[in-house]
């Protein structure tokens, strides 16, 4: 009996130690995601002292129509982190895998107002909002946590550039468009925080855990 009591003392001590290190880890910088993209150092004068500040690349303002033909713009995404991708509804190759994987993201964060998904069609000629609506319905998506974006082709392709995703019309590619299956993770300040191959199961698990890390940034203190 004595022996057991002795042991449990150690147990308490050990668990206290473990809790302390875990807490350190959460507050430390080691758990933060990097900020991706170009950055610029700007100097500004504050109280007579020169300070160097870093300006991070941010996603520029946009305005598109969603699957309900309602306007969506950057302010619809400023209170949430979001995952974005570029696809088209008739894509025979990688898009079905990307959609299946984004459904996994939706399932994990369903109803969480801090998480959104934004899928841009790169074939706006065919994928009118009504076509996007049908696609969303068939995927079983309700509401607006997952928005589908439609707009002039040039605007969409410019957005792809800002997210650093390659997309172009190419009659030789499957379905007529060449593009990459990236999922881009964007924070509430419109900065890029991660890029993942949306067709790869391991990368998608990484995205899911990175999203938790990013959300934690907004919940510290």
């Amino acid at each position: 009996m004595k022996y057991i009591i002795n042991n449990s003392k150690w147990f308490y001590l050990l668990s206290a130690l473990m809790m302390a290190t875990a807490a350190c880890k959460q507050n430390g910088n080691s758990e933060k995601l990097p900020i991706l993209g170009k950055r610029e150092a700007v100097s500004k004068i504050v109280n007579g002292n020169e300070l160097i500040d870093t300006l991070y690349q941010t996603i520029p303002a946009f305005s598109f129509l969603n699957q309900d033909s309602t306007e969506i713009n950057q302010s619809d995404f400023s209170n949430s982190i979001y995952v974005t991708d570029f696809f088209f509804t008739t894509c025979p190759s990688i898009c079905p895998i990307m959609s299946r994987n984004l459904l996994q993201v939706l399932d994990k964060y369903r109803g969480n107002e801090e998480v959104k998904i934004l899928s841009h069609t790169i074939n706006p000629k065919y994928d009118r909002p009504s076509v996007l609506k049908k696609y969303a319905d068939k995927l079983g998506i309700e509401g607006n946590q997952w928005e589908f974006a439609w707009g002039p082709q040039a605007d969409i392709y410019k957005m792809a550039d800002s997210y650093m995703v390659f997309a172009k019309e190419d009659p030789n590619a499957p379905g007529g468009f060449e593009h990459q299956g990236w999922f881009i993770l964007v924070d509430k300040q419109a900065r890029i925080r991660g890029a993942y191959d949306g067709t790869d199961a391991d990368q998608v698990s990484k995205l899911l855990s990175d999203m938790d890390i990013l959300l934690a940034e907004y919940h510290e203190q």
Partner: protein
């Protein structure tokens, strides 16, 4: 070769021969077709129909409707080769998206794939032979 190793070799050969006879040519063929079909399925079909044949929402139908598959073998061979853009009912749900053609697949490839899906996801249709696929394709009136 020593007498000893000859005996061992002989015994091994006998075992293989017995196994072969037990399994039967048909079962061996089925296993070969199934394995080849599994690879082709991963390359050509899995993106839409899923690694477990589960499909995707109401966009892409599951391949686990054993009654549908058993009753539509000719049609399925045609769908794989020439694509499909009809309205069909699978496991009680309506599907009307487009399945793309695979015109570069040979009759043999299609037999591999059909043997794979025909013996996965709950289906038990046995070995689907290349001649059967050739006959199905001749009857689908879609050659161009």
């Amino acid at each position: 070769m020593s007498n000893r190793s000859l005996t061992v070799l002989g015994t091994l050969l006998a075992i293989v021969a017995v196994l072969y006879a037990c399994q039967g040519e048909e079962a061996i063929r089925k296993a070969q077709y199934y394995t080849n079909g599994q690879k082709l399925y991963a390359q050509r079909c899995q993106n839409c129909h899923g690694s477990n044949g589960e499909g995707l929402g109401q966009l892409y139908p599951p391949l686990s409707d054993t009654i549908y598959l058993a009753g539509n073998l000719n049609k399925v061979a045609c769908m794989i080769k020439f694509g499909s853009n009809e309205t069909i009912e699978v496991l009680g749900k309506i599907y009307d998206s487009e399945m793309p053609p695979n015109k570069d697949l040979t009759d043999q490839d299609i037999a591999y794939i059909m043997t794979y899906i025909g013996n996965s996801f709950g289906n038990e249709l046995g070995w689907i032979k290349t001649e059967e696929v050739t006959n199905s394709l001749a009857a689908c009136n879609k050659g161009d």
